[in-house]
C-alpha cells in the first residue's frame, strides 16, 4: 500500500504538495537552499498551500517562488517593487500568509524605497532577501550589498561601502529582523517558521552565495567565507503553542519570545549573551561583530508587540475580496442625501 511509504503532515499533505516547478537556478546556487527550507518549514508548520501567497521582484532570487508550492498563488512582479505588490495583494484577504523572496539588488538597490516603507508599515509578511552581493540574472554586476573593494569580472573593483540590510531593516522599524546563511539550513528553517508566525514584517537577510558570479573564497558572500566566519547568536528553535512559560534571563538559559498566536521562539544562548529586543543595542552588537570580522547570524531584533498594518485598519472578518456586492454599494437613499449635500 503506497500511502504508507509517503510521509504526511498533520493536514495530510506530503512534501510533494509543497514543491514547485523544477528549479532552473544554477547548480549549487544558495537560493536553492532557501527554496528547500521554505518547503520544509511550511510542510512542518502544516500550512495549507492555498492559504499562502508568494511574491517576488525580478532576479534569480525572485524566481525562487516558482520552485515551491505550486498550489499557492504567486506573483513575480517588477524589479524592486515586490513590497507594494504584496501590500495590495494581502489586503485582498488579510488572513493569508505572505512570503516574498527578493534579492539584494531587488531590495537594496532599486528596491530600497519600497523596502523601507513596507518595514515601516509593518505588513504581516515574511520578507526574505537572498543576498549574494551581485546581480545574478544580469550576469554579475555589483549590487548595493557588495563589499567595498570586491573585484568582479568585467566590473573592476567595487567603489562603494555596502548597504547592510539588517541595519536598514532595523532603522526602518521592522519588527522582526534576522540574518542567516544558505549554508546553515537548520537556522534558516527555524527563522522561516518564526517569521511566518510573527504578526508583522519579518525580514530575513540570507547570505546566499552566487556560485557563478561571486563565490570567490575571500568574498563576503561566498560559501567559504560564510562557513568560516559564521557566528550564531543563539541556537534558535520555533515551538508551536505550549503552556505559557515565563521568560527567564539567567545566563546559559534559553530566552523564550512568545508570539501573538501562542507560539514561541526559543533562543538557546551560545557564546554571546544577547537579547534581540533593543534596536540600538542590536546595531552596537553588529558593529562589534563587524570589527571582529564575524558573520553574525540569528534573530537580531524582534518586537512582537508592534501593531501590524492590518491592526491599524478596521476590516471585516470576511476577506474584502469575498464581500458580497450588496455590501459594496451604498443604497439609493444615501445618494439622495449626497446630492442634497451638494449646493
Amino acid at each position: 500500500m503506497a500511502e504508507k511509504t509517503v510521509k504526511l503532515n498533520e493536514i495530510g499533505l506530503s512534501k510533494e504538495d509543497y514543491k514547485g516547478k523544477q528549479t532552473t537556478l544554477c547548480l549549487g546556487c544558495g537560493h536553492n537552499a532557501i527554496v528547500g527550507q521554505i518547503i520544509s518549514a511550511c510542510y512542518e508548520l502544516n500550512i495549507p498551500p492555498e492559504r499562502l501567497i508568494k511574491v517576488s521582484g525580478i532576479g534569480c532570487s525572485s524566481k525562487a517562488p516558482t520552485y515551491f508550492m505550486n498550489r499557492a498563488f504567486g506573483f513575480n512582479g517588477l524589479h524592486g517593487r515586490m513590497p507594494s505588490l504584496a501590500t495590495g495583494a494581502l489586503f485582498g484577504d488579510t488572513s493569508l500568509i505572505g512570503i516574498g523572496v527578493s534579492g539584494d539588488g531587488d531590495t537594496a538597490s532599486i528596491g530600497m524605497g519600497q523596502f523601507k516603507h513596507v518595514t515601516r508599515r509593518n505588513l504581516p509578511f515574511l520578507y526574505i532577501v537572498a543576498n549574494n552581493g551581485v546581480y545574478g540574472l544580469t550576469k554579475g554586476q555589483f549590487s548595493a550589498t557588495a563589499e567595498q573593494g570586491l573585484a568582479l569580472k568585467k566590473q573592476g573593483q567595487n567603489r562603494y561601502v555596502p548597504v547592510d540590510i539588517v541595519w536598514e531593516a532595523i532603522a526602518g522599524r521592522a519588527s522582526f529582523v534576522a540574518r542567516t546563511f544558505s549554508g546553515d539550513p537548520q537556522q534558516l528553517k527555524a527563522l522561516i517558521k518564526a517569521g511566518i508566525h510573527h504578526r508583522g514584517i519579518a525580514v530575513i537577510d540570507v547570505i546566499s552565495p552566487c556560485v557563478t558570479f561571486n563565490n570567490q573564497d575571500d568574498s563576503f558572500h561566498s560559501y567559504a567565507w560564510g562557513k568560516s566566519h559564521e557566528v550564531a547568536l543563539h541556537e534558535l528553535s520555533f515551538v508551536p503553542p505550549v503552556r505559557a512559560i515565563k521568560v527567564q534571563y539567567e545566563k546559559g538559559e534559553a530566552l523564550e519570545v512568545p508570539l501573538y498566536d501562542g507560539t514561541h521562539i526559543i533562543l538557546k544562548k551560545l557564546a554571546h549573551d544577547y537579547e534581540p529586543t533593543d534596536r540600538a543595542n542590536a546595531l552596537q552588537m553588529l558593529e562589534e561583530a563587524n570589527d571582529r570580522n564575524e558573520l553574525i547570524t540569528g534573530l537580531i531584533y524582534i518586537n512582537p508587540k508592534q501593531k501590524s498594518l492590518f491592526d491599524l485598519y478596521d476590516l471585516p472578518d470576511t476577506p474584502l475580496n469575498r464581500l458580497p456586492n450588496e455590501k459594496l454599494r451604498p443604497d439609493p437613499k444615501s445618494l439622495e442625501e449626497i446630492n442634497n449635500l451638494m449646493f
Binding site: P48, P49, E50, R51, I53, V55, P65, T66, N70, R71, A72, F73, G74, F75, N76, G77, L78, R81, P83, S84, L85, A86, T87, G88, A89, L90, F91, G92, D93, S95, L96, G113, Q114, H117, Y313, D314, L315, P316, D317, P319, L320, N321, R322, L323, N325, K327, L328, R329, P330, P332, S334, L335, E336, I338, N339, M342, F343
Partner: protein
C-alpha cells in the same frame, strides 16, 4: 467721478457677463467667491466659477473668474465685464483686461495709476468697512473679501437672501460666522447704496434655469462614483490636481461604506510613498480580487508606466484616474490641459494600448467612477479615466448624480464551487468563451486547482513560463482583440447634429461647453457644425461613422500636438486628410472665442 460714469452708460446687460476677481492666494477669498457664485446660482441663473491659482500656498496672485450666462455658456469666457482688483501686483493687468465700458472695482488703499477712461471705476473703502466690523485679528484679510461681495450685490442686484443661504450652506448653519460675514456684506452693500452714483449696466435677474441642478466639481464626483462603484482599495500619492479625488473618498467613504452588520469598513485606503508604490499596490490588490483604484497626474503617470504595462499584459483590473495638468515635465501644476491623451492611451513599454474613459461633465465623472470599476474587472485590464484640472477642480452646474443603473459586475472570477463545475478545463489565460477574456481566480480561493503564477514574462494559457514564439504571439494578439472588443461596450460618443451641417467638430472632456458655445456662434457666422464628443478610447464605431460622414472635421483639444487628432487619424487612414487639428495649450481652459477664431481661420484656408 460721477460725471465720467454717466457718460459711460452702456445699455443694460442682463445675466450675460463675466466677473474676474483678483486676489492673493491664502487670503481666504475662496469663501467670498463661492458665496457670490452660489447666490447667483440660487437666483436660478446658470453660472460657473474657475479658480486660476498659482503653484504656491500663500502670497501669489490668484484669480477667480465667474461667468454668468442665462444662455448656459459656462466655459471660460475671454472677455471680462467686471473686474475686482484686490491685489496691487496685478492691478495693471486686471485693468487692461477689462472690456470697454466694464466696471473696475478696487480696494481704495491700492494706489496704482489708472489710465483708462472707458471704464466705470469703483474704489471700495475696504479697510474702513473692515475696521468698522471689528473682526478678530486673524480674520481681517479674510473678511476684507466680503466687502466686494456686498458691493457687487448692490451693483448687480444680487438678492441678499440668496447670499444668506449661500453662507448658511458654506458654514453648515454655524450662526457665528454666518452672521458676521453677512453683516460685513450688508455694511458694504449699504455703503455702496449710499455712496455710489454709478449704475451697473450689468445685472442679474432671477430665473428658474438652475432648478434640478447642483454646483459641484469633477473630482468630488469621481470620488463618490468610485465609492458607489464598490471600490475596495485605494492607494494614492498626493499630486495637484488629482489630490482632491482621493481626498473626497477619504471624506465620504467612512459614512457610506461601513458594513451595517459588523460596523467594519468595506474598503481600505492607503497613502503610498510615491506613485511607483501606489500603482504597485493597486495592481497587487486587483490581482487579489479587489476593485482597486488610484489617481494621479502627468508626473505620477510617468512613474506608473512600467506597472501599467505589466497590468495590461498580466491582465489585472485596476482603475487609474488621470487628472491632467500642463506638461511637459512639472509644467504648470495648477493649470489645466489635455496633454496626456497619448501617454495614457499607450502607457508603458512594448505594444500596449489601454482602455480610456473620458468624462466631459461632472455627472459623467460620477458615472465613469463606478463604470470604470466594472469595466476593469469585466475586461481584466487597467481602465484609465482621463479628466483634467478644469473639470476636476472648478465649479460646474450639474444635474444630481444618478444611482448606477447596472448591478456591480465582478467579471469572470471563479471561486471554489465554480472551479468544481468547469473541472480541469480551466487555465488562467485559456479563452474558454472565445471572447478573448479568460477566467481568473484570486488569492484566498481554497480550491487545489485555483492557484496560478502571475508574471510579466511570457506565459502559456496555463500561466506557465514560456519563451515559445507562437505562444507569445497568440497571447499578445488575444489581448489586443480583447481591447478591440471593448469598443462595443465603452461609453458611446455624444453626438449633437444640426440640419444642413456639412462639417463636424470632434472634442472630448472639459472643453464641451466651450465647444457648444463656439458651434452656436459659428452657426451665426453661417458655419453649421455637427458635434461629436468622444467619451472613450478605443473609439466606438459611431465615432468612425461620424468621421466618414463629413468632408471636414475639426478636432478641438487643449494640447500642443493635437493628440486626439493623431489617434483618430490612425483609426481611419482614408479620412485622415479630412481631420483638421485645432489645438493649443497655455494653461487656460479653451474659450469659445478662441475655438471660433481658430475654426474660421481654417475655413479661410
Amino acid at each position: 467721478m460721477a460725471k465720467t460714469q454717466l457718460k459711460l452708460q452702456t445699455q443694460k446687460v442682463v445675466n450675460e457677463f463675466s466677473i474676474n476677481i483678483a486676489t492673493i492666494n491664502g487670503s481666504g477669498s475662496q469663501t467670498a467667491n463661492l458665496t457670490l457664485i452660489r447666490s447667483i446660482f440660487k437666483m436660478g441663473i446658470p453660472v460657473s466659477g474657475k479658480n486660476i491659482f498659482p503653484s504656491n500656498i500663500q502670497g501669489l496672485p490668484t484669480w477667480y473668474k465667474i461667468r454668468v450666462s442665462q444662455a448656459g455658456y459656462l466655459g471660460r469666457s475671454q472677455k471680462t465685464e467686471i473686474a475686482v482688483a484686490m491685489n496691487p501686483k496685478t492691478f495693471g493687468d486686471d485693468l487692461t483686461d477689462l472690456v470697454s465700458g466694464g466696471i473696475f472695482l478696487y480696494a481704495d488703499h491700492i494706489k496704482e495709476p489708472i489710465h483708462r477712461e472707458d471704464l466705470i471705476l469703483c474704489p471700495m473703502p475696504v479697510k474702513s468697512i473692515v475696521k468698522e466690523a471689528k473682526p478678530p485679528r486673524e480674520l481681517r484679510d479674510y473678511v476684507a473679501n466680503m466687502v466686494y461681495v456686498g458691493v457687487l450685490a448692490f451693483l448687480l442686484k444680487v438678492q441678499l437672501e440668496t447670499i444668506e443661504s449661500a453662507l448658511d450652506f458654506h458654514f453648515k448653519g454655524k450662526k457665528g460666522p454666518i452672521d458676521f460675514n453677512l453683516s460685513v456684506i450688508h455694511d458694504s452693500f449699504h455703503w455702496a447704496e449710499n455712496n455710489l452714483e454709478i449704475v451697473s449696466p450689468f445685472q442679474v435677474q432671477p430665473l428658474n434655469l438652475t432648478e434640478g441642478f447642483n454646483l459641484a466639481n469633477g473630482n468630488t464626483a469621481g470620488g463618490l462614483g468610485t465609492i458607489y462603484g464598490g471600490m475596495h482599495f485605494v492607494s494614492w500619492y498626493p499630486i495637484t490636481p488629482a489630490t482632491s479625488l482621493p481626498e473626497a473618498i477619504l471624506e465620504f467613504a467612512p459614512g457610506l461604506r461601513k458594513d451595517p452588520e459588523t460596523g467594519k469598513d468595506t474598503y481600505a485606503i492607503i497613502q503610498a510613498e510615491d506613485e511607483l508604490a501606489a500603482i504597485g499596490m493597486v495592481v497587487g490588490a486587483g490581482w487579489a480580487g479587489l476593485r482597486a483604484m488610484t489617481a494621479t497626474s502627468g508626473p505620477g503617470l510617468s512613474l506608473m508606466s512600467e506597472y501599467a504595462s505589466l497590468a495590461y499584459f498580466v491582465e489585472i483590473p485596476v482603475v487609474i484616474w488621470v487628472i491632467q495638468r500642463v506638461g511637459p515635465s512639472t509644467g504648470l501644476p495648477t493649470r489645466t490641459a489635455q496633454g496626456d491623451v497619448n501617454q495614457t492611451y499607450y502607457l508603458g513599454q512594448g505594444d500596449t494600448r489601454h482602455v480610456v474613459l473620458i468624462p466631459g461633465t461632472v455627472k459623467e465623472c460620477f458615472e465613469f467612477g463606478w463604470k470604470a470599476l466594472d469595466l476593469a474587472e469585466k475586461l481584466q485590464t487597467p481602465i484609465f479615466v482621463l479628466s483634467d484640472l478644469d473639470l476636476g477642480l472648478n465649479q460646474w452646474m450639474t444635474p444630481p448624480f444618478e444611482y448606477p443603473d447596472e448591478p456591480i459586475d465582478r467579471g469572470k472570477i471563479l471561486w471554489e464551487e465554480d472551479l468544481e463545475k468547469i473541472k480541469d478545463k480551466w487555465g488562467r489565460y485559456l479563452d474558454l468563451d472565445g471572447d478573448n477574456i479568460p477566467y481568473r481566480t484570486v488569492p484566498g480561493n481554497q480550491h487545489p486547482r485555483s492557484a496560478y503564477y502571475a508574471r510579466g514574462t511570457g506565459h502559456d494559457d496555463f500561466a506557465n513560463y514560456s519563451e515559445k514564439p507562437e505562444e507569445w504571439e497568440e497571447n499578445l494578439d488575444r489581448i489586443n482583440r480583447k481591447i478591440e472588443s471593448s469598443r462595443a461596450i465603452l461609453p458611446k460618443p455624444e453626438i449633437t447634429t444640426r440640419s444642413g451641417a456639412k462639417s463636424g467638430v470632434i472634442a472630448f472632456g472639459s472643453t464641451d461647453s466651450a465647444v457648444r458655445e463656439a458651434c452656436d456662434s459659428l452657426q451665426d457666422e453661417g458655419l453649421t457644425l455637427d458635434y461629436l464628443r468622444v467619451r472613450a478610447l478605443p473609439v466606438a464605431a459611431e465615432v468612425l461613422d461620424f468621421i466618414r460622414e463629413y468632408k471636414r472635421i475639426y478636432v478641438v483639444e487643449n494640447n500642443r500636438d493635437g493628440q486626439m487628432h493623431s489617434i483618430l487619424s490612425l483609426e481611419l487612414p482614408d479620412s485622415a486628410p479630412d481631420l483638421v487639428s485645432v489645438s493649443h495649450i497655455d494653461g487656460m481652459p479653451l474659450s469659445a472665442d478662441w475655438i471660433k477664431a481658430a475654426v474660421m481661420e481654417e475655413e479661410k484656408s
